[in-house]
Amino acid sequence: MTSVGSADFIRILPELILSVFALLVMMLEPVTPLGKKTVLGWVAIAGVILAGLASFAIAYFPGSAFSASISNDGFSNYLIELLLLIAGLVLLGSMAYLERDAIDHGEFYALILMATVGAAFMVASTELIMVFIGLEISSISTYILAGYKRGEMQSNESSVKYFLLGSFATAFFLYGIAFVYGLTGTTNLDVVRETLVNSPQSASPQLLWLAVILMFVGLAFKVSTVPFQIWTPDVYQGAPAPVTAFLSTAPKAAAFAVLVRVFVGSFDHVASAGPVVFWLLWISAVLTMCLGNLAALWQSNVKRLLAYSSIAHAGYMLVGITAGGAEGTSAVLFYLAGYALMNVGAFILIAHLAGSDERYTNVQDFTGLAADRPGMAACLTVFMLSLAGFPSTVGFFAKFYVFRSAMHAHLTGLTIIALLNSVVSVYYYLALVVAMYMGEGKTQVSESSVPRALGFAIAVSLLGIFFLGLFPSGLLRDLNSLHVPWL
């Protein structure tokens, strides 16, 4: 019951700035003439940049805010910066797309900002109700974004499926929260941990397991692990490609952050829950990797293929979470950065190549792209190779760190399964490369030149991919020294 002071607001400054800019975009929307809506995109980007600066600044004001429901620590700070990066790239990559498909309303940019706010609250919250509200903000925004092409069947279906299954998952997550609250009398994760660790007899282990499983199911839907991945392919395929770029990264990163905070940060420390958490993670990691990769082998639609690939990547990240501890956490955080760079890059490039109304998203449509547009083909190839985990790209070190943490945790079996999976994944990532470089015939996809903003976004992600692929230790060192008390 402390009163709210200015320090509290400083610690949520990035979120505040984003919210203000989202409002600004919405207020400017009616006064912006048709055909000039891109301006709103730039306003949104300005907001993202400002929020980014703010998040750098608030790194110097660590501590909790609002009755310990928000924590401004290295962990949240890093993830917020990552989310802002994603949002920025997606905004850059979507402006031309929206204009081309004549859906360039300011609402889109506002929604992206809102979804980012929600995700940012998710990663910064140390209190489950706040997590829940953040989750809902980001989920609801993304439901809308997925169905942003209202008149288009696939976009709409994507939205329906995402919405129904997302809400279903939310109910599970919430039920888990209810039981955690019932067992510990609090929803503050730090207090939950302390209560459970200090007086383990207060909660029946079975009920705790149920709470853990329920929360896991809820989060598993969000990060799309098997068997809760059923929505992912359809949603990713149906949503407008820049939206897919966003929702395959930002909400996922946030959900992973929550997964880490809840499971690694809290329940891992609890003796009676530890094994359940461990096996839950272990099994879903294996299932997710295997199913994601195997299913991806049969896909002919690029967006769908990348959807299954993102399921597989969720599996790899789960390996890191299974490993747990400070090392597993930093590996997962590193992975999230790499994954965001390559996935966003790939999707926004595909969004451009797919042409108006995304007519060309089949692998066959990319045939011969290398001959006609070698630059774009090369970029897409780099994204694919990075996703496949070739060295000198970030995808390699992402996997490497995760697998190393797993080996440190003596999860040799899991590591080997993961490695074999990543070999299998090479096949389908190369399918696209095969089509672009080795297929015969004229390419179907859009041959218009890359708009400047999109080009910039792609350049940023490429740079990031190579920089982190060649010099990963700087970031990893930072991640290792997050100084988060719960690790």
Partner: protein, 100 residues
């Protein structure tokens, strides 16, 4: 007084019914209503626990859940209306323009 376990059982039964409905119903709106049913079961659990624990936090959580449910309903129904405009049907089985 009413035993906590009875309230929780009621909550669990409602939750399970909601989840079952989510699985077996074929109408999008009904499915959505089943989700609402699940949320209500959660709320009941919160209230039951709040009764047992010191503080009103549990009741407050229900408040938030209701707010969230309202937001979700607004968006969800808008999505469903858009679905109907596109398909002229509300059957989930018809939502299949992408291969499974």
């Amino acid at each position: 007084m009413i035993p906590l376990s009875h309230i929780l059982l009621l909550s669990v039964i409602l939750f399970t019914l909601g989840a079952a409905g989510f699985i077996i119903r074929r109408n999008v709106i009904t499915v959505f209503m089943c989700i609402e049913l699940m949320l209500n079961a959660v709320n009941l659990a919160f209230i039951a626990f709040a009764r047992r624990l010191p503080g009103l936090d549990g009741q407050l959580f229900v408040f938030f859940v209701i707010v969230v449910a309202a937001a979700e309903a607004a968006v969800g129904l808008a999505i469903i209306v858009a679905l109907y405009r596109n398909r002229n049907s509300l059957a989930i089985d018809d939502v299949d323009s992408m291969k499974l």
